[in-house]
């Protein structure tokens, strides 16, 4: 049913419909509305789950890992410093192959302290073994939670998943969202069947020592699962399209790319602004398009290469910086397109909540035309 709702509440609502049996989270701006809503739902018996009030994000994800290992479907949400504090547990969750789904309400990392949006937090966990989905709007944020559970819990995958959506820009914005019913979600997402779980009658151990004779194979299996997840994501997206009419079967969404000379690559809410700017530039005769990355992990190398086949220049918008190297997405795209003849220019943009407008996107096209890139865009040089 179409309803006008805040992004955080839409995500809390869909998290409820996904029937997690355990929810553990710690308050942190701008994620708090989600966990407050879930606390209400559990207290009002709308959601039959254990809601664990914990003393830190470290404890939150640790409790989630324990609950998942015991065979429960688990949900958590965090952002920024909270995710940074979970760093150690994130690697353990993936290593123990627990399909936890966690909403990341993207926010910058301190210091200096900032509560505003960029994507440095989830990007910094790119090597942890979690699937990473990025939403452009609140409808996509809502839908991706169902897909994330389905993919994560698939026995060919068994990896945890982040569903990332931009803090404040999406989380605190009211938009129309077509919210499925409980029955519809149940029809799409079956009950969780753990591949293995802690069971006193059939004891197993998780997370034990792996000597140098075994450790590398565990990491190899994680990478194989990541690669297998590509097909599972496509399948889950296609099934979703069949049931709900919104198609997420592609890991990369192409927008007006067919005859484009310059292609943007971006993730998250900025894609909406980029699309609007592209429409205006197209009206003025400029051949510009967008390749929106919906799945950053696994990185959609094949789809992205195919989508960019005809372009001469790629402008990557990175709402993060891998200090000492460049934007995380730009670096990967450069490696991917090495030797293709396509020019890849990277733009570090919108850090710490710096606003991006359509005219900024147009200005970046002008820079890309001149071959000027690999730079911070929109710096206030007067305060440097």
């Amino acid at each position: 049913m179409l309803q006008i709702t805040e992004g955080s509440h839409a995500v809390a609502e869909i998290a409820k419909f996904c029937r997690p049996q355990v929810v553990a989270a710690y308050p942190i701006t701008p994620q708090t509305h989600i966990v407050e809503a879930l606390a209400d739902m559990v207290a009002n018996c709308e959601l039959d789950a254990e809601y664990i009030t914990v003393e830190s994000e470290f404890s939150a994800l640790s409790a989630c890992l324990g609950a998942s290992a015991a065979g429960s479907r688990v949900y958590s949400a965090t952002t920024s410093q909270g995710l940074a504090l979970m760093f150690e547990v994130c690697f353990n969750v993936a290593g123990m192959r627990q399909p936890i789904v966690m909403s990341i309400v993207n926010r910058s990392l301190g210091a200096p302290l900032s509560i505003w949006n960029d994507q440095q937090d989830s990007i910094s966990l790119r090597d942890s073994g979690w699937l990473q989905f990025y939403a452009e709007d609140n409808q996509e944020a809502t839908d991706l939670h169902m897909i994330a559970y389905k993919v994560a819990e698939d026995h060919d995958v068994l990896l945890p998943a982040f569903v990332c959506f931009d803090g404040f820009i999406l989380s605190h914005t009211y938009e129309p969202v077509d919210m499925p019913s409980q029955e519809e979600v149940d029809a799409y997402l079956p009950a969780f069947t753990p591949y293995h779980r802690l069971d006193a009658k059939d004891p197993i151990s998780m997370g034990m020592y792996a000597t140098p004779d075994y450790y590398m194979e565990f990491r190899y299996e994680l990478e194989r699962a990541m690669q297998r997840s590509i097909d599972v994501i496509k399948r889950a997206g296609a099934e979703f399209a069949e049931q709900f009419g919104r198609d997420y079967s592609a890991l990369v969404e192409s927008y007006r790319l067919d005859d484009a000379e310059i292609a943007f690559i971006a993730m998250g809410s900025i894609c909406g602004t980029v699309k609007d700017a592209i429409d205006e530039m197209r009206d003025a005769g400029k051949k510009v398009g967008l390749a929106k990355i919906r799945t950053y992990r696994p990185f959609p190398t094949e789809e992205l290469t195919r989508a960019l086949a005809g372009v001469s220049t790629v402008a990557v918008l990175d709402k993060n910086i891998s200090l000492g190297s460049g934007g995380a997405v730009g670096t990967e795209v450069k490696a991917m397109l090495a030797g293709s003849g396509i020019t890849v220019l990277d733009y570090i943009i919108a850090l710490g909540g710096r606003d991006v407008r359509k005219r900024d996107i147009a200005a970046i096209v002008d820079l890309a035309d001149k071959g000027v890139g690999d730079m911070f865009y929109g710096l206030r040089t007067e305060v440097l």
Partner: protein, 263 residues
């Protein structure tokens, strides 16, 4: 001799605290105690974590470290042990100190690091909008405990006593004179001094817990604070202590070996 006002960064005012918040009172009492110490501003460092309490150093004219959530005491330990000549004062809150930073709290007390820790205990996560904290009383309402908290609350001052702090006192934002005096004693005592201040959060605690007006909250603190000496007397007489009372006063003053004390 300076006055409390000399320590304020007036160019940073007005502050961000809500109308009726008790944190300003606690800052005022702390600065009043400090101004009586004869300290120089450039030999004094304020350290804080995250939360409403931790905004305080931003309004004070000294060097300060506004650190990550819960870690103020670990950062402060580094400051003090690297430069024992500095006076180190930590502002923290119940969420910061007792939840996410609980481990640092007990170990800083155990090591008895020479610093003064002022904890603004408003019994709630104020800055993020009123979620239940480890000091939210059992039964109290918050945004994460809509039908009342089912968990027992920490007694932070008793925890500090058990963990080994040299000086521990608890007062409230109502008891400004006693509080100022306790902070001054804490500043003078070598080792870790812990001063817990019960303070009102009308925005996120009071209005959800039948204390709608700021005056209701202050009246509640006044009428539910039980002087430690009186508590001990009642206990020795076998007189039952009414429910909902909390002790105030000096819980401990001792001279355990301490770290980072100036030679």
């Amino acid at each position: 001799m300076t006055s409390a006002r000399d320590w304020l960064r007036t160019d940073r005012l007005p502050h961000i605290y809500c109308t009726g918040c008790g944190n300003g009172t606690v800052i005022n009492c702390t600065l009043a105690a400090i101004s009586g110490m004869g300290w120089e501003r450039d030999e004094t460092v304020f350290v804080s974590g995250i939360g409403c309490s931790s905004r305080a150093p931003g309004y004070i004219q000294t060097d300060s470290l506004h650190t990550t959530h819960g870690r103020a005491l670990a950062f402060a330990t580094g400051v003090k042990l690297a430069k024992p000549d500095l006076n180190v004062v930590v502002f923290t809150g119940d969420g910061d100190l007792a939840a996410i930073g609980g481990n640092h709290f007990i170990h800083a007390c155990r090591r008895n690091v020479d610093m003064t820790v002022v904890c603004m205990n408003n019994q709630i996560y104020g800055m993020t909008g009123g979620q239940g904290s480890p000091t939210t009383p059992m039964g109290a309402q918050s945004t994460t405990t809509p039908y009342g908290s089912a968990e027992a609350a920490f007694d932070l001052a008793e925890l500090a006593v058990a963990a080994g702090a040299n000086y521990v006192a608890r007062w409230t934002a109502y008891h400004v004179k006693e509080l100022t005096k306790a902070i001054a004693t804490g500043l003078q005592t070598p080792g870790l001094s812990f001063i817990e201040v019960m303070t009102q959060c009308p925005t996120n605690y009071g209005r959800r817990n039948k204390q709608r007006r700021v005056s209701d909250m202050i009246e509640h603190m006044r009428t539910h604070a039980l002087l430690i000496e009186k508590k001990r007397r009642l206990e020795s007489e076998g007189t039952p202590i009414p429910e909902g009372m909390f002790t105030v006063g000096e819980l401990v003053r001792r001279a355990r070996p301490a770290m980072g004390v100036r030679r």
